[in-house]
Symmetry: C2
Subunit: 341 residues, 2 copies
């Protein structure tokens, strides 16, 4: 066990785009687990857009990170010391240990990882919270029917890539919206989407119309903003819009206006906000169904890995600008090889 714990703290609340100076890298002692607790070494840290909301001092579904507090985040960790009967050193767990190298906590809410299912980093992506978000948002809120057209924004990201692939596996036409020709090519050629449209190109709305010749039945929205507005103009009667994220406005200093809702009325459509935290009861069904698809290669994923905790602030800033390509992960420490493996 080393001597110090490196952590990334929230130093100041950015009004707009976060800057590296809004974070502070600090060293402190390794926490000591009390009875009933475990000490974990972080292997993987997940970076996700929702974290931008936790940097704001506003009432929301979760408490903000305090100034001087450790940034929140999902982690895959190895137990290195245990004072809890259910876990032993060497066990791997998914938790919310945040942007730090070590954390001591009661194992409530931790989920053990089975290394044999898939690489352990997938517990933060395709087989973790982003995957579950895609699964419940698409299937439970969007309720697609085979033959319908499903559109998803941030389509090459951790959530969107799963949404489109599940849509395809359920017999729908899957159309992705992404922020570069490379990302668009990836979702079509690597993930098997039927089409993809670059929202940064001229004539985006027309290109979207070409990609959706039968209109749009389900729009899984990760971004809000002008993309949502354009999609709304092309929805079919009875369209469903699971509202999962608002990436386009997380850095806004003033809440921007939203879409004109006239198409929702004339088409009897619905927009429904949801948070994955309300749907953990679906985790079993999700892991069974999506886990099988991942194992047999029907559902693919891409990871965008940065090395070392110190790289987390810059990587997170890039995530909000769409500079990542796939599920963004920080390799905080090396996974140790399994004994005898």
């Amino acid at each position: 066990v080393p001597e110090t714990n490196r952590r990334v703290l929230l130093k100041s609340r950015p009004p707009g785009e976060p800057r590296p100076s809004d974070f502070e890298i600090a060293e402190g002692p390794i926490p000591k687990p009390s009875d009933g607790e475990i000490l974990c070494r972080t292997i993987w840290l997940s970076l996700d857009p929702y974290m931008r909301g936790r940097m704001k001092d506003v009432r929301s579904y979760a408490a903000p990170v305090e100034i001087g507090g450790v940034m929140v985040g999902g982690t895959v960790s190895e137990v290195i010391e245990s004072k809890h009967p259910s876990l032993r050193p060497g066990d791997l767990v998914v938790g919310m240990d945040g942007w730090q190298q070590y954390a001591s906590s009661a194992p409530t809410g931790l989920r053990p990882i089975d290394r044999s299912v898939a690489p352990i980093s997938t517990a933060l992506g395709v087989l973790g919270m982003p995957g579950l978000t895609a699964y419940v948002g698409l299937l439970d809120i969007g309720r697609p029917v085979a033959g319908e057209t499903v559109v998803v924004s941030a389509a090459s990201g951790a959530v969107g890539s799963v949404v489109g692939q599940i849509a395809r596996l359920k017999g729908c036409r899957a159309v992705g919206i992404a922020g570069s020709p490379t990302k668009c090519g990836y979702v079509v050629n690597e993930l098997g989407f039927d089409a993809a449209v670059d929202y940064r190109r001229d004539g985006f709305a027309e290109a979207l119309r070409d990609a959706c010749p039968n209109g749009i039945d389900v729009y899984f929205d990760n971004v809000a903003g002008p993309v949502l507005e354009a999609v709304l103009r092309q929805i079919n009667r009875g369209a469903r819009i699971p509202l999962c994220g608002l990436i386009s406005q997380y850095n806004a200093t003033e809440p921007p206006r939203g879409p004109n809702l006239a198409p929702l009325l004339t088409n009897r459509g619905l927009i429904r906000g949801f948070l994955v935290f309300d749907h953990f009861d679906r985790f079993g069904a999700f892991v069974n169904e999506v886990g099988a698809w991942v194992r047999n290669g029907e559902l693919r994923y891409r990871e965008d890995i940065v090395d070392g905790l110190d790289a987390a602030p810059q990587a997170f800033i890039g995530l909000l600008e769409g500079r990542n390509f796939g599920k963004l992960l920080v390799r905080v420490s090396e996974e140790r090889p399994v004994a005898g493996g």
Copy 2:
């Protein structure tokens, strides 16, 4: 039977607020019913905000009125000549005969009126399409639970007044939003709403907050625009927003931006557009339940009556500006007293 049929035609499509010159009053021959048809004399013509949409040449849920065509509208009429076995002269029917004194049509979709239930004009208001709109929008889309807070805009109007009263009868706190102190006083003192807020006053959002100390669970939206934006900032977790109308923007030359949807995400809320035409299967339940409340005085209504077809254009223009007070009706001709009544 008189010699001519006075009609109001659409003369031009206004880009913004309709002007009287966008309508043309024309005289023509009384139509002759063919076999299977009936000739009706219009007694009451309903004026409703949806008609503004029919003046636009855009794809929507219903075809636009043609230039030179009779303005569409719901009517209560008396059969004066019948070539259909099911109806006789003197029968009263609800139909869509439009802005004219006489109409000849097959009685498909006509609904006979029983004079003994309530005044026949109510078939265009509290016991007609506006009442059904309130009933299905509130109960089927909004799904209020006793003890919740229900807010409704255009609260003194044909739909809103019914929404708030049903909410009260179902055990909810009913809060109206209306456009003058007089209208606000009416919905509280005459209709029994728990509170009402004038959206034109300074500090509207704060006044709404005071009127909804436990937040907002259901918002029945007739107006969209800034009122919807203000309401969204005060919704509770799991709020439901039936989107019924967009009065604030019917005269807009460009579709205005809409509300920021962040509160929908953090509160897991839903906005659902609906059109009453999809819900006629609920008419029986509606008439049973609301009819009983009207008869026993538990549910009240107010009519804003203008006399003569020629007054229809100006009255309709005023409706879009909120100048009516209650269900707006045109008395096109007199109801004849019932023989022996």
